[in-house]
C-alpha cells in the first residue's frame, strides 16, 4: 500500500486518548482476570467457610497485605515496561519490601513457637497444592493482561512478560486468600511466593512470543 493512503486511512480513526490510558488498560485486564479467577474458586474449591471470622484476625491481613502490596509493586513494573521508552526501571526495590516484611513476621512467629511445631507450621495442610492453585488462578489474570498489552508497546518482551507474570501471580495469590485457610507467615512466604515465582517464570518464557506487536 502507498504510504500516503495508509496515513489517510489511519488518521480517519483518531479517537481521543485519555491521559492515563496505559494504567486504565492494565487495570481493566487485571480486574477482569481477577473476577474470572474468583469465579473459578467459587465454582471449584470454594470460599473458606470461616472467611468472615478470619477477616477479624491478623493473619488474614498479613497474607493480604503481602500479596496485595506485591501486586501493586509488580503492576508498577508492568506499567513501565508497557511503554517503548521505558529506560531504567524505577522502583524495582519496592518488590523487596513485602518479602522482607513478611520474613520479619515469619521470624517473629517462629520465635514464639516451639521448634517441634516449626515443620507443621511451614508445611501447613496444603503446601502441595498451594503453589499450583496460585499458578492456575494466575492464568485468567495473565490472559487479561495479554488483552491489555494488545494496545501497549513493550520493547523488552522478556522483562515485560516476567512483570506481567509476576502481576498475574501476585493478584492470583490475593484472590486465593478467600479460599486458603493457612495462617502462618512462613507458609505464605514459601508456598505463595513459589506459585507467584512460577507464574513469573512462565511469563518470562512466553513474553517474547505473546507480547510481540
Amino acid at each position: 500500500m502507498n504510504t500516503d493512503d495508509l496515513i489517510r486511512q489511519l488518521s480517519t480513526d483518531t479517537r481521543p486518548v485519555a491521559r492515563n490510558s496505559v494504567g486504565w488498560r492494565l487495570a481493566i485486564g487485571i480486574v477482569a482476570g481477577s473476577i474470572a479467577s474468583g469465579l473459578l474458586i467459587l465454582a471449584s474449591i470454594g470460599v473458606r467457610p470461616d472467611l468472615g471470622a478470619a477477616m477479624q484476625g491478623p493473619s488474614f491481613w498479613v497474607k493480604w497485605g503481602y500479596t496485595l502490596s506485591l501486586s501493586i509493586a509488580a503492576l508498577m513494573m508492568t506499567a513501565q515496561l508497557a511503554r517503548p521508552d521505558s529506560g531504567r526501571l524505577r522502583g524495582l526495590w519496592a518488590l523487596g519490601i513485602p518479602v522482607l516484611l513478611l520474613a520479619a513476621v515469619g521470624l517473629l512467629e517462629l520465635a514464639r513457637t516451639p521448634s517441634s511445631q516449626w515443620l507443621a507450621m511451614w508445611l501447613g495442610h496444603s503446601w502441595k497444592s498451594c503453589p499450583w492453585l496460585v499458578l492456575s488462578l494466575s492464568a485468567p489474570i495473565f490472559a487479561g493482561l495479554l488483552w491489555s498489552f494488545r494496545r501497549l508497546a513493550p520493547t523488552r518482551l522478556r522483562a515485560a512478560g516476567a512483570a506481567a507474570g509476576l502481576s498475574a501471580g501476585a493478584f492470583a495469590a490475593t484472590v486465593y486468600c478467600i479460599h486458603c485457610p493457612e495462617v502462618s507467615a512462613i507458609f505464605v512466604l514459601t508456598w505463595y511466593s513459589l506459585g507467584i515465582l512460577l507464574a513469573t517464570l512462565i511469563g518470562m518464557l512466553v513474553g517474547p512470543r505473546l507480547l510481540r506487536w
Binding site: 496515513i7 496505559v22 494496545r151
Partner: protein, 179 residues
C-alpha cells in the same frame, strides 16, 4: 532539533486529544524522519525501508496511548522505530546472532579472502566499466560466456573480446606495479 521535537510533540498531543488533522500531519511529517532513520541503518534495501516506515506509522497510530505526554516525543518515536526494525529483521531472518557470526569470521581465511576481494575490486575499477562487468561475470561469478552475453544483451564474441582486453590491461598494470 529542539523545534522539531516541540513541533512534533504538539501535533502528537493534539492528535491524542482527538484532532484528526493534527494526527495526519504528524504521520506525514514522520515519513521523511523514519526513512532517514532506516536508510542510515539498512543500506540498499528500499523495500525493507518502506515496509519498516509503514509498520512504524501503524504502530505510532495504534500504540499512541503509550506515549507519556510529559516525556520527549522523539525518544518515544525512535524507541518504536528501533523495535520495529529489530522485529522486521527477526521476521525476515536476516540478522544473525553475533556468536553465530563468529563462525563465519573464523581464521585468516576470511581476512585473506576479503583482502583479495578488495584488491580485485580496486583493479577492476581501473578498467572501462564494460570490461570490468564482463570479467566479473565470467571469471568471478562463474557465468558462461553465453550467459554473460545474454545477461548483458550483447554478442558472445563481444564478451570474449571484452574479457580478453580487460585481462590483458590488468596484466600490464599488475606487472607495472611489481616492477
Amino acid at each position: 532539533m529542539q523545534t522539531t521535537e516541540e513541533h512534533l510533540r504538539a501535533l502528537m498531543i493534539d492528535g491524542l486529544d482527538g484532532d484528526a488533522a493534527a494526527h495526519a500531519a504528524l504521520l506525514r511529517q514522520l515519513v521523511p524522519l523514519l526513512r532517514g532513520f532506516y536508510r542510515r541503518r539498512v543500506r540498499g534495501a528500499d523495500d525493507d525501508v518502506e515496509d519498516m516506515v509503514q509498520d512504524t506509522l501503524i504502530a505510532v497510530h495504534t500504540r499512541r496511548a503509550t506515549y507519556d505526554r510529559t516525556r520527549a516525543f522523539t525518544a518515544w518515536l525512535y524507541a518504536v522505530a528501533r523495535y520495529k526494525m529489530i522485529d522486521h529483521f527477526r521476521r525476515v531472518g536476516r540478522l544473525r546472532p553475533i556468536d553465530d557470526l563468529e563462525d563465519y569470521l573464523v581464521g585468516d581465511e576470511f581476512e585473506a579472502s576479503s583482502i583479495a576481494k578488495l584488491d580485485i575490486d580496486d583493479l577492476l575499477k581501473q578498467l572501462p566499466p564494460k570490461q570490468a562487468r564482463m570479467i566479473r561475470a565470467t571469471r568471478l561469478e562463474g557465468l558462461s560466456v553465453a550467459e554473460a552475453a545474454s545477461a548483458e544483451g550483447v554478442g558472445e564474441s563481444d564478451v570474449k573480446v571484452s574479457v580478453h582486453r580487460g585481462l590483458k590491461a590488468l596484466m600490464t598494470r599488475v606487472q607495472g606495479a611489481i616492477r
